[in-house]
């Protein structure tokens, strides 16, 4: 296991690369879902305002 983590001496490059990429993927998933949720909330708010003119 520790040999796997050492990555043949390239641990300092390989693991930060993985962390960066999967961090960006995670952020993109969060951001996309957040954007959909806020758009839905906005639509709901507008629909409510439209109901009682």
């Amino acid at each position: 296991m520790s040999r796997f983590l050492a990555m043949g001496g390239y641990a300092g490059s390989v693991w930060p690369s993985m962390a960066l990429t999967f961090g960006i993927i995670a952020w993109n998933i969060i951001a996309a879902r957040r954007s959909l949720r806020s758009a839905l909330a906005e639509a709901r708010r507008r629909a409510r305002i439209g109901d009682d003119p």
């Binding site: 796997f4 990555m7 043949g8 001496g9 390239y10 300092g12 490059s13 390989v14 930060p16 690369s17 993985m18 960066l20 990429t21 999967f22 960006i24 993927i25 952020w27 993109n28 998933i29 951001a31 996309a32 879902r33 954007s35 959909l36 806020s38 758009a39 839905l40 906005e42 639509a43 709901r44 507008r46 629909a47 409510r48 439209g50 109901d51």
Partner: protein, 245 residues
């Protein structure tokens, strides 16, 4: 030729529902493929005979770089469709591609720099691919900036579409010119190692990663497309009916 599918695809409520149905069909295979590709790439693939285990960065670097280019092309194509057929849904797709593509450009740049440290001895060398990727990031930021600077959404769609089309003509020219520029300035000592020679046990996880990243991109864009459609259609009756149900 029957074109009804085209117009149905362009109808916002239809695309909104279709995107919602499709998201899990892209997201779960993407998760499985990326996990499999990662296992194959980090554990099963043998170390490269020149770069040792350092070459394993390719399993996240190359798919990110591929997405950064594919997203830009897709953005320009859908923007052109939106401009020519005045199709709101196509503009929504173009707008959704931009942030995702920009983030994967950052990923490609970052992993490229981390790969450069052991291979070139420095985080940043003016390597043609890295330089072209950096210019691509600027193109993305310009597109996103222009879109956010124009208040009227319809005008923002159409203006940024023109920019995306001009940009996509420029991308191969930038790529070629940067390579040419590099070939005349290249210091011969920069590359410590040659390109990794790829064998099947190395290549298979990479191909799996390419497919996985592409599916992930599709899922991310579909979620964003739904949000963009809602923002463009918030006055429409189908939206108010859907959210008040």
């Amino acid at each position: 030729m029957d074109w009804t599918w085209f117009h149905r695809f362009g109808s916002p409520p239809h695309l909104y529902r279709l995107a919602g149905t499709l998201v899990p069909w892209f997201a779960w295979p993407a998760a499985i493929l990326i996990a499999a590709g990662l296992y194959g790439g980090l554990v099963l693939a043998p170390p490269d005979y020149q770069q040792g285990d350092g070459f394993r960065i390719i399993y996240v670097h190359a798919p990110s770089a591929w997405l950064s280019l594919m997203a830009y092309t897709m953005m320009a194509v859908t923007a052109a469709i939106g401009l020519i057929w005045r199709m709101k849904a196509a503009h929504a797709v173009a707008a959704s591609c931009a942030p995702v593509g920009a983030w994967f450009t950052v990923a490609a740049l970052g992993t490229g720099m981390l790969w450069g440290k052991p291979m070139w001895g420095t985080y940043w060398a003016w390597d043609p691919r890295l330089t072209a990727e950096l210019v691509l990031l600027f193109l993305y930021l310009g597109y996103i900036g222009l879109r956010s600077a124009i208040e009227d959404p319809q005008r923002a769609d159409r203006a940024s579409a023109v920019l995306a089309i001009v940009g996509v003509i420029n991308v191969p020219i930038v790529r070629y010119s940067v390579e040419w520029w590099n070939s005349i300035h290249q210091a011969p000592s920069v590359m410590k190692f040659g390109k990794p020679s790829i064998s099947w046990p190395m290549l298979t996880p990479l191909l799996i990663m390419f497919v996985g990243f592409t599916l992930l991109f599709a899922a991310l864009v579909l979620v964003r497309v739904r949000a963009e459609i809602l923002r463009r259609e918030r006055q429409a009756r189908w939206v108010t009916e859907m959210v008040t149900q």
